[in-house]
């Protein structure tokens, strides 16, 4: 294989990128070392030199990262599939707007995204951190070194199987796998991409990962400050700059997590915004610890207490980010999470990442612990700092129990390492498990974030203050009681624990609104904490409303109760079958599946919701448009996107859970169509014909006999059919047929169409869903309807306008000219001179008809277009005009036979497919969740904004 000279490969950008990968790795090492010496020699004149080298190192590192990303985008935009990453994530039909999503779909791309943000944040530090620049960037470069190793892709060690360090995103496909195609020199031109997972082809995938990774990256900054402060023993000075960064990080990480929830709720069919999935949990845990750190940071700045805890919290935050990276990327969660990455050989590198920084943090803390100042006097129990600190312990506690449960697979792995016989343990039902603990955490946080706002830092004389504290707490409790009562009228608490939570959620809102109005008197600059705590309270109410009172509207009324212990029937049967155009009552709505349209691979359904009052008047009506996305081959559904009606106080969520198999898989549909057993019936117009069908009964050795009756009402020469698009030159025949079955009430009218286009026949059958039958026209219909021209014996007649003759018993009159003739086969042209003869025919049976044959001159040549009266087999041609005598020449013929019996075909095993399987859920008060959670994050930005203006 080495001897092949490949053609059509684009190796240069890859080589540039490879060089940049190595350069970024080396430069981060260089920057880290330079900044290390800059920090060590910060009081000597060498400082400037070392810092300068550190800066150069970090800039080169940053530039290299940008180069790698630039090269990868270049390769992806140009679809150079000889690169493995491009092949795996891009395809021809991938819309350009999803190129970013494709970039960070893979592990390597998301590592690069993380490093990208570190570079940006590092540059901000370089510009603003002053004396903190050297130590913080030294640590940040070290972090970059570890993440950089994940994409290095070099082999280390000796022997037959050297271990690979990192997974390189610029590998060529032919280096990654062995396949016969690589024996061809021009293989590159024959490759195609596998593309982006359709589930990820969504704008949330464009904005959620960069926000979340900015959140991840930003937690590194408080970590770097913490290590830097321990290193330089600046235990006080670091508190102020770090607080701003921590607030920024808390806000961004929080928004990143929320976006994940919004994505799950809005675009995926999960039917909720939080499911306690391990991946979700492990992004929440660092956030909780970070928030704890922000609180001790505030305490430390105001009182000097809790400096040690602030260190520990910020160190833990980053360590948990790394741990979460390990969990989601090592494949260890494979069995328990729906959206973890699969393993790709980075496990030990990720473990090394954790172990190194855990060791570094532990060692720094151990070395410096004694030297960290802390006041002799302990916090007063009536002081703000005491209760805030308790609050941070509650947050830590919450984080640790979530981590403990989520880490069960890791625990299993470790125990199995020592005892292979050990059977892994697993949480049977994760959601109730997490909820039951976090419920109490939320209650504690509600209490603490309420009353702590009324307390003062460094309280020395609570007795004097007690009456004010008592008054405000009393008022807040009273207001909370009233509001809680009102809330219970709207949402059902279902259990006393939830009622307690509701109470303290509202208590937080009440106390913090009070704090906002009376303590800081609406000073918005100071309002950050009040906003965040009010947001927390509103979020709790929103969670209770939307979670506890979530109602599955599409609840199947025909349920089997008591099937599963502990689970209500409502939870069990979420889906309902909805036939097209037949409304179904799903209290309080009347739901109808109205229509569906296909646009390339997307099929969008229109589902109508109506609510009526007692008199039956429609008081509310809206349409929802869930869609499904087919894969390229139209053989399966790649994604099902919900649609949600939003009211201010509730959402109605709808998604297509399933479709009939024939609507999912077009290949299956074709097979199904081929397997239909059509039987031919010759039906004279207006006469009923019957077909007897025997249906074997499942599992019983008997047959049921069903009799079908069909009547061809009439033949249509210009038929319409929903699927038929007429083209010039088509010869189309339609029939209106009435079908009934002896055991089924009603007569069903169908209009199948058969079209002859050139040499090809196109059949447009019609389905009768109520009878599971399908009707189409047999190709013999053309012979039955059309008489060959050669069989006709035309006779010429000369008419003056108004003349009447008798022909075979018919009274035929030439009534006049039509100078704007219309004829099914005639398409006018500008040059044409065209006229039709209006011929009125009186049949012996008393019926009268009109025929309009056309005579035209096109390009100096005469043409004529015949017309006929099919019922009577009369054919007319308009063959000449004599202007001098003002006469016309008409040719008339009558076919020897009138229309024969019409051959139609009936299949009795065509299952109906005009339905959707729908899931519909109502979420009351879900906007409270979004609003509260967003307010919580905004509060952090307000607090950060206030602190940014101040000097370091």
């Amino acid at each position: 294989m080495q001897d092949i000279q490949y053609i059509g490969e684009h190796l240069l950008p890859g080589q540039v990128g490879q060089a940049a990968i190595v350069a970024s790795f080396v430069a981060s090492l260089f920057a880290g070392i330079s900044y290390f010496f800059a920090t060590q020699r910060r009081d000597t004149e060498e400082y400037e030199t070392w810092r300068g080298m550190g800066r150069w190192g970090f800039l080169v590192h940053g530039l290299s990262i940008f180069t790698i990303i630039g090269v990868m985008f270049y390769l992806m935009v140009n679809q150079y599939y000889e690169y493995q990453y491009v092949q795996a994530h891009v395809s021809e039909d991938l819309p350009f707007k999803y190129i970013f999503s494709a970039f960070w779909e893979g592990q390597e791309g998301s590592f690069l995204l993380w490093m990208f943000w570190h570079v940006i944040l590092g540059l901000v530090l370089m510009a603003t951190a002053r004396q903190w620049e050297a130590p913080t960037l030294s640590i940040l470069s070290l972090i970059q070194l570890f993440i950089g190793s994940m994409i290095l892709g070099i082999y280390v060690g000796f022997g037959d199987e050297p271990s690979r360090l990192g997974s390189n995103p610029l590998m060529l496909l032919r280096d990654v796998m062995d396949a016969p195609i690589f024996a061809k020199a021009d293989y590159a031109a024959q490759l195609t991409g596998s593309g982006l997972n359709p589930l990820l082809q969504n704008y949330w995938m464009t904005i959620h990962p960069p926000t979340l990774f900015l959140g991840f990256a930003s937690t590194s900054i408080p970590f770097c400050y913490a290590i830097a402060a321990l290193w330089t023993k600046e235990h006080k000075a670091w508190l102020q700059p770090t607080l701003r960064w921590a607030l920024f990080s808390g806000g961004i990480l929080g928004i990143g997590i929320l976006m994940g929830g919004a994505w799950a709720y809005e675009a995926l069919s999960f039917g909720g915004y939080w499911a306690w999935d391990p991946v979700e949990n492990m992004s929440l845990v660092p956030w909780l610890i970070l928030v704890a750190g922000i609180h001790t940071n505030l305490i430390a700045r105001s009182t000097g207490h809790s400096v040690r805890s602030t260190y520990i919290y910020y160190l833990l935050t980053f360590l948990f980010i790394v741990y979460s990276t390990f969990l989601t990327r090592s494949g260890v969660l494979g069995d328990t999470s729906v959206h973890a990455f699969t393993e790709m050989g980075l496990e030990w590198q990720l473990v090394a990442f954790i172990v190194f920084f855990l060791g570094l943090s532990g060692a720094m803390m151990a070395l410096r612990f004694k030297g960290i100042p802390s006041p002799q006097k302990e916090e007063d129990t009536a002081s703000k700092e005491f209760w805030m600190f308790i609050g941070t312990l509650v947050l830590l506690f919450s984080a640790l129990i979530i981590t403990a449960s989520t880490s069960l697979p890791v625990y299993n792995k470790i125990v199995q390492f020592f005892d292979p016989a050990f059977e892994g343990r697993v949480i049977t039902d994760p959601e109730p498990h997490y909820n039951k603990y976090q419920l109490w955490i939320a209650i504690f946080i509600g209490v603490l974030s309420g009353i702590a706002q009324y307390l003062r830092y460094r309280e020395t004389n609570f007795k004097k203050y007690a009456s004010k504290f008592g008054l405000h707490t009393g008022i807040a409790l009273a207001a909370t009681a009233v509001l809680t009562y009102i809330a219970t009228l709207w949402i059902e608490a279902k259990a006393w624990q939830y009622l307690v939570l509701l109470f303290f959620g509202i208590f937080t809102i009440a106390t913090n609104v009070d704090y906002l109005l009376t303590f800081i008197r609406g000073n918005l600059k100071l309002a950050g904490s009040a906003f965040s705590h009010i947001g927390f309270g509103i979020m709790v109410v929103g969670i209770l409303a939307s979670g506890l009172n979530k109602r599955i509207i599409s609840n199947n009324p025909f349920v089997m109760d008591g099937l599963i212990e502990g689970a209500t029937s409502e939870e069990l049967r979420r889906n309902i079958l909805l036939f097209k155009d037949s409304p179904l009552i799903m209290p309080p709505y009347e739901v109808t599946y109205i229509a569906d349209t296909v646009d390339t691979f997307t099929r969008t359904f229109t589902v109508n919701y109506k609510r009526r009052d007692k008199e039956g008047n429609v008081v509310e009506e809206f349409n929802l448009h869930p869609n499904v996305l087919y894969d390229k081959s139209f053989t399966k559904i790649a994604a099902s996107n919900p649609s949600t009606k939003r009211y201010w106080n509730r959402d109605i969520f709808t998604h297509i859970a399933s479709l009939p198999q024939v609507e999912i898989d077009m290949e299956y549909r074709r097979q199904r169509e081929d397997s239909l057993n059509y039987q031919v019936l010759n039906a004279p117009i207006g006469q009923s014909v019957s077909l007897v069908d025997t249906v074997p009964l499942k599992e019983v050795d008997t047959f049921v006999v069903k009799t079908y009756r069909a009547t061809v009402e009439h033949i249509n020469r210009t038929p319409t059919h929903p699927d038929y698009q007429p083209e010039e030159g088509d010869i189309a025949i339609g029939a209106t047929i009435q079908v009934e079955r002896d055991d089924e009430e009603g007569v069903f009218t169908v209009n199948p169409v058969l079209v002859l286009r050139g040499q090809l026949l196109y059949s447009y059958p019609e389905q009768i869903n109520a009878l599971n039958a399908k009707v189409r026209l047999n190709e013999g219909v053309f012979d039955a309807v059309f008489s060959p021209e050669t069989d006709l014996d035309y006779r010429s007649f000369t008419f003056r306008q108004g003349d009447k003759i008798e022909y075979n018993g018919y009274q035929i009159q030439f009534a006049g000219f039509n100078r704007k003739p219309e004829h099914p086969n005639y398409v006018p042209r500008e040059e044409d001179v065209a006229v039709s003869a209006m011929i009125s025919v009186q049949a012996p049976d008393g019926n009268s008809y009109l025929a309009q044959p056309v005579y035209l001159i096109r390009g100096n040549r005469p043409f004529n277009l015949k017309d006929e009266i099919p019922e009577k087999g009369l054919h007319f041609r308009f063959t000449g005009i004599d202007p001098t005598s003002e006469t016309v020449e008409l040719q008339i013929a009558q076919a020897s036979k009138t229309t024969q019996a019409i051959p139609i075909e009936l299949a009795t095993n065509s299952l109906r497919s005009d339905y959707i399987v729908l899931e519909a859920i109502e979420f009351p008060g879900i906007n409270l969740f979004w609003f509260g959670a967003t307010l919580m994050m905004l509060g952090m930005f307000v607090s950060m904004g206030r602190r940014i203006g101040k000097s370091v």
Binding site: Y81, Q87, A88, M177, A179, I181, Q190, L191, T192, S194, D335, T336, V338, T342, M344, E378, E379, T381, F386, F389, I390, L393, F397, L400, I401, S405, L408, E423, G424, R425, V426, I427, T428, D429, P432, H433, Y437, N556, L563, I564, E565, G566, A567, L572, R573, R574, N575, I576, L577, K636, I637, A638, A657, S658, L659, P660, L911, R912, Y915, V917
Partner: protein, 131 residues
């Protein structure tokens, strides 16, 4: 810092108490024979029997999907999932089900599928028109 220590100790006690109750929420992956014996709600991991019938007819019941899996001991049983048939079900390698035995079948309310990753896919994708 004495009071803080007291609070911390209380929390540790609470944590231990919680962890003991949490043990009730956990179990090992069961096998069909264990699930039959205990009758409890359990999690079962197994391999999809691709040669056995998979039945989903939404027109009949949109919340009934049945198939067969082999558990870790190799015992093959019918599983009824009270939900729609998920997409790509046929491709799944490993299936984790939550539910309980009901007569001869395992009735599941929750299912997690592990599908083969495209990273492991050895197939090279070749343009159709290139052939």
């Amino acid at each position: 810092m004495k009071k803080i220590y007291i609070v911390a100790i209380l929390m540790i006690v609470a944590a231990i108490a919680l962890l003991t109750t949490a043990a009730d929420d956990m179990s090992t992956y069961a096998t069909f024979s264990q699930a039959t014996r205990s009758g409890d709600r359990v999690k079962i991991a197994g391999q999809l029997s691709k040669d056995k019938e998979m039945y989903y007819n939404p027109a009949e019941d949109p919340n009934y999907f049945s198939f067969y899996i082999k558990d870790t001991e190799g015992e093959e049983r019918k599983v009824v999932l009270l939900s729609e048939k998920p997409q790509d079900f046929e491709l799944s390698e490993q299936i984790v089900l939550t539910g309980q035995m009901k007569d001869e079948a395992f009735v599941a309310t929750d299912m997690l599928m592990k599908c083969p990753s495209k990273y492991k896919d050895e197939e090279v994708y070749i343009k159709n028109e290139g052939k």
